[in-house]
Structure formats: C-alpha cells, structure tokens
C-alpha cells in the first residue's frame, strides 16, 4: 500500500485514538444487552428490612469493598414519641454483622438500607472536574477508575454520604448497582441476598417490571427530596425522621 505524507498525517491521530482504546481495555461482552432499553433504579421496602446485614456482606464480597468502607449499609432508627427530629441512629460496621439488641425499650424501631441513589441530576456527576463520574445511558452513575483524579469533590457533593476514596486505588468509589451483573440479566448482589425481598432492582423502562404497579399503589418517598437530585432509589414505608 502506497501511503503519502498527507495520508499518513490523517492516519496517525486516528491510529493514536484507536491505540488508546486498546490500552483502555474492552468492556466485558454483553451481546444481548441494549443500553437504551433500560433505566435502572431500586425499590427499598423499609417495612420488610430485618437488619440482617446480608446485603452489606454480599456487596462487600461481590465488589471487593475494603473494610471500613461501604457501598451499601443499613441504619437502625429508634424513635421515642413524637420526637422525629431526634432519632437515635446507629449502624455498627455498616450493619454488616447485623445489630446488637437495642438499649431502649418501647418507641419505634426500624431499619433503613442505604446505597447510591443513582440520581438523574446527580451532584457528584456535576462537580467531577474531568467527567470521571458519569451517568450511563441506562441510568447508572459510574466512576471511571482510570480517569478519576481522587480530588474528593464528589464525596463532598454527595448529600447521602455514599462515596468514599478507596484506600489503595486512591480513587472515588461507590455502588455501581452491580453493573457487571445487571447488564447480563442478573440482579444486584444485595437484592439477590436479601431474605425478605426488601430490595428490588427496578427497570423503569421495562413496562413489565412490577415496579410500575408498586409505585402506583404505594406511598413512595426518596431520601432528602429537597435536594432535587431526582433519586432513583425509591423507599416504601420511609419514616419522616430518616435523614
């Protein structure tokens, strides 16, 4: 093949871009998965959560989460009387090993599982200086670990405390909604391990997903609605005291 100087000048940048993609590695193949046909979220039924910590353990195992950091965790709330502004909350080890018996008798007790809310208007995505945090076309907020600077602005910007800096990688981390699983037709590790079905993965674009019927027939709330982040983790039975 006869390559002219002009043609070479055109080809070189294209080759450089192609090489960069090769170096970046190719994503795991999910041949039947179409990004534009899904819009992922999660349903958390607070009334069903028993605080067993299965979800936290499953998440840590599935995603190799370092000790002391949490992609998901469970909080225990205790309320006396009408003082919903002063709940007693604990989450020992993120609820990974369940909860010891509470000291208080009476009042109201319940568990609240927490995870990244995969917000449509996510503040973490907005503030990332290089766009390493992004929203996928199927509605999951992810972090490009090879691109993240580790500036921690996203950790500050998340109203829900869902992000942390991985102590070894020194990049931001959080729940990926088990993206490697859901793109293969599986559910998330936390949903799969929940014994009571308190967590349900939801595909908001799938008309057959039971989420639509659930949203229609139940009082649903999101965390900190005043933050206007358009959260996609929907809570059933969420008490007004939950922060």
């Amino acid at each position: 093949m006869n390559i002219t100087r002009r043609r070479l000048l055109v080809l070189l940048p294209a080759a450089a871009i192609a090489w960069k993609h090769i170096l970046a590695g190719t994503p795991e193949a999910s041949p039947n998965y179409k990004l534009t046909e899904h819009w992922w979220g999660m349903l958390v039924d607070v009334t069903k959560c028993i605080g067993c910590g299965n979800c936290v353990r499953a998440c840590q195992t599935e995603n190799d989460v370092p000790d002391g950091y949490y992609r998901t965790w469970v909080e225990r709330y205790h309320l006396e009387g009408w003082a919903f502004q002063n709940p007693k909350v604990d989450s020992p080890d993120g609820g990974k090993n369940g909860f010891p018996p509470g000291n208080q008798s009476g009042g109201k007790n319940f568990f609240v599982p927490k995870l990244c809310n995969h917000c449509v208007e996510s503040p973490c995505t907005q503030v990332c200086p290089v766009g390493a945090t992004f929203v996928t076309p199927d509605g999951v907020v992810l972090i490009d670990q090879k691109y993240c600077l580790g500036c921690r602005y996203c950790v500050q910007a998340c109203p829900y405390g869902c992000r942390f800096i991985h102590p070894q990688k020194e990049t931001a981390e959080k729940c990926t909604l088990c993206y490697h699983r859901i793109t293969k037709g599986l559910t998330t590790a936390c949903c799969e391990s929940c014994p009571t079905g308190a967590r349900q993965l939801a595909d908001l674009k799938d008309p057959k997903d039971p989420i639509h019927e659930f949203l229609r027939t139940h009082s649903i709330q999101v965390l900190k609605p005043y933050m206007a982040t358009n959260s996609k983790v929907f809570y059933n039975g969420l008490d007004g005291s939950v922060r």
Binding site: Q126, G131, R152, Q156, G161, F164
Partner: protein, 393 residues
C-alpha cells in the same frame, strides 16, 4: 474527645479535605488581596500606597506560584491532573479553576509585572555581569527598547492589564468561594454569600500581608517606613475589614434567624468542636481585636511608633484570623454529618503528604520565592531606598 460523637454515615467518619485544602483558599486569597492593593495605585491613583505597589505585585506572584501545590499534593492521582486542562468537565466548578488560574497568572500578573519592570530589566541586563546578565537578558524577551515612547506604551498597556486584572482577581477568589458555596449537600458551605465573603476576606488578608511585609522588609533593610503609605494601607485594611466582618455577621444572623434543619447541628458544632478556632481565634482574636486596634488609629492621634506597633499586631492578627476563617470553612464543613446527627474529628498527620510539616513548608515556600523575586527584581529604587517619605496629607 471521641473520634465520632452521635451518628455519622459510615463513609463520613474520615475527613476528605485536609489542612492543605485550608491553605489553598488562604494562598489564593493573599494573591487576590495583594493584587487589589497594587491596583489602588495603578488604576485608582492612590499615590500614597505607591511604595507598596511593586512589592504587592511580587507578593501576589510568589503566592500564586505556590497556590496550586496544595491541591496537587492532595490529589489521589496527581499525574492525572493535566486532564483538567485537556478534558475539563464544563459543569464542574473545580474544572474551571485551572483556566481561571492560568488566565490570572499568565495574562494578568506576569504581564503586568513584566511591563512594570521592563525598563529596569533592560538596564540591569546592561549593567550586570555573568549569570545575572543572562537571566535579565532572557527576561527582556528580546525587547530592549526603553525609549520614552516605548515606556509610555508600557504604561498604557500596564494600566489596561490592571483594569482587566481587578475583575480577574475578583474572579479568582470569588471563584474559590464558589467551589465551596455551590455544594448544596453541605449547609455549612452552601450560601450565595460564600464567594463574596471569600473575596472580601481575601482583600483583607492580602492588604494585611503586604502591609506587614513592607514594614518588615524596611526594618530589615534599615530604611525608614513611609508612614503616609502605611497609614493609607491600614485605613484601607480597616474599611475592607469592616465590610468583610459585616458580611460574615450577615451570614451568621441569617442562619440563626432562619434556623433551618441544619442549624441545631451547626450551632452545636460552633459551640463545641469549633469554639476555639471559630469564636476565640477567628472572631475575637482575628477580627474584633484587629478592627478595634485599627479603629484606635483612626480615632486617636497616636505617635508614629505606636501606630507602627499597632499596625504590626493588627496585621499579624488579621492573617491568623483569616487563616482560621479558611480552617473553619474547610475543616468545619466536614466535622458534622450530613445526617445532622453526629460529629467527627479531624486528626492532622505530621510527617505525611497532607500533614502539618507539609503545610508549614507550603506556607514558607511563597516567602522564599518572594525573597528570590525581591533579589532579582527589587521593588525599590536602584539607590536602595523606597521612594522618599512624604509628609501626611
């Protein structure tokens, strides 16, 4: 004191932004303030502050060169930081800082200093020997025309650059305030007043720094202090400080009166974990006391020696107070939980990448750079003296 008091979200216990991020707004603030002081002479023709003009510019440059270092050191992956320039995320307040910084450094400060010093550089390139001659020759950038016409053009262009520089300095530091003020998840930071408060506190700290440096350098060189100049600078410091304090009090009163859901949590924090740094150091020792001292000099006719002492003490207290203000914003904003149900503790390392020793080094580094700059580009006349002191107006 326990590490955690009450309930924190489990990922919140560890503070993300350390003392280095306290230094970052502090250093940029000194830059903006010093430049605005310099512009008083250049644009607003406040002749009395002329002896500080060049020193203010060099101070701004020395601090500006160091300002990005704390950020760089704090990054988990500093080697990726050029991505902020190559692929900036336009919706990110932080991404644009790189461009604002470069604009201010290269298009404003360096150009203004070069234009102002060009005549001196050319003369020194002719009169010096050896490596100094080489440095000055490089600094002329090949332009050795110092005819009256050329200097007039320098003057006009320099004036224009300063005019552009004032909003740029406002932008630089107001922007740093915006980085914090726009974080809606954090009620301690999230206020539209944040950029304005940062800007005025920057002016206060920059003016105080140049005033102290001017007096210290003159003392070091055994040259009399131009009291007309220092009195004027102190007067500007006093006025700016009052505006700054009023804005901070406005923010405080607004928070107390509005008392939104975060108030009880923040109020408790100010009365406990932030009491020393906020109430004692920032407000009482770093704001009320220097304002009172400066007010004394405005009201009473004090002898020169007393005024010098008061200006020195007030200037140093101001610098400490503004540093405490940055500390309370950055560290204070991370001590409470976003659940408003608990508090954590900041434990500063010593010999770590983001520890105390590094912070001390980064605080001293601009002064060392300033020392080199002053040697290379003396801010005073060739005879070795500042412009002649003049009688008070």
């Amino acid at each position: 004191m326990p590490l955690v008091d009450g309930f924190m979200y489990p990922n919140e216990v560890e503070l993300q932004w350390s003392v280095l991020i306290v230094l970052y707004p502090y250093l940029t603030g000194l830059v903006a303030g010093a430049f605005i002081l310099a512009s008083l002479e250049r644009v607003f023709r406040v002749e009395a502050v002329k002896p500080t003009y060049r020193l203010a510019l060099l101070t701004a440059l020395a601090f500006l060169l160091v300002a990005p270092l704390p950020l760089q050191l704090h990054l988990g992956h500093p080697e990726r930081s050029p991505e902020m320039y190559l692929t900036p995320h336009r919706s990110s307040a932080m991404a644009m800082f790189g461009f604002v910084y470069l604009w201010y450094l290269m298009a404003v400060l360096v150009v203004e200093i070069w234009l102002d010093y060009r005549r001196d550089i050319v003369l020194m390139s002719q009169s010096s020997r050896g490596w100094k001659r080489l440095i000055y020759r490089v600094l002329t950038l090949g332009s050795d025309n110092i005819s009256e016409r050329a200097l007039q053009i320098d003057e006009r262009v320099g004036w224009l650059v300063t005019v552009i520089g004032i909003p740029s300095a406002f932008l630089l530091h107001g922007y740093v305030g915006f980085i914090f003020g726009s974080v809606k998840a954090n009620p301690w930071w999230s206020t539209p007043l944040m950029p304005v408060v940062f800007l005025f506190s920057a002016m206060v700290s920059g003016i105080a720094a140049v005033m102290c440096l001017y007096m210290f350098l003159n003392w070091l060189r055994r040259v009399p202090i131009d009291m007309r100049c220092v009195d004027t600078v102190a007067r500007y410091l006093f006025y700016t400080f009052i505006i700054d304090f009023s804005l901070e009090m406005l923010d405080l009163i607004h928070r107390i009166y509005e008392a939104d859901e975060s108030f009880r949590s923040l109020d408790f924090m100010v009365h406990t974990r932030l009491f020393t740094s906020q109430v004692l150091i920032q407000i009482l020792a770093g704001t009320v006391l220097p304002i009172a001292l400066l007010a004394l000099t405005q009201v009473l006719k004090l002898p020169e020696a007393a005024r010098k002492s008061i200006y020195s003490v007030a200037g140093l207290l101001t610098l400490i107070g503004i540093f405490a203000m940055r500390w309370n914003v950055v560290i204070g904003g991370q001590l409470f939980s976003k659940s408003f149900l608990g508090y954590t503790t900041y434990k500063m390392g010593f010999v770590t990448r983001e520890g105390l020793l590094m912070a001390i080094f980064l605080s001293i580094l601009p002064l060392l750079i300033l020392g080199v700059l002053v040697k290379l580009l003396p801010p005073w006349s060739e005879k070795g003296a500042m412009p002649e002191p003049q009688p008070p107006a």
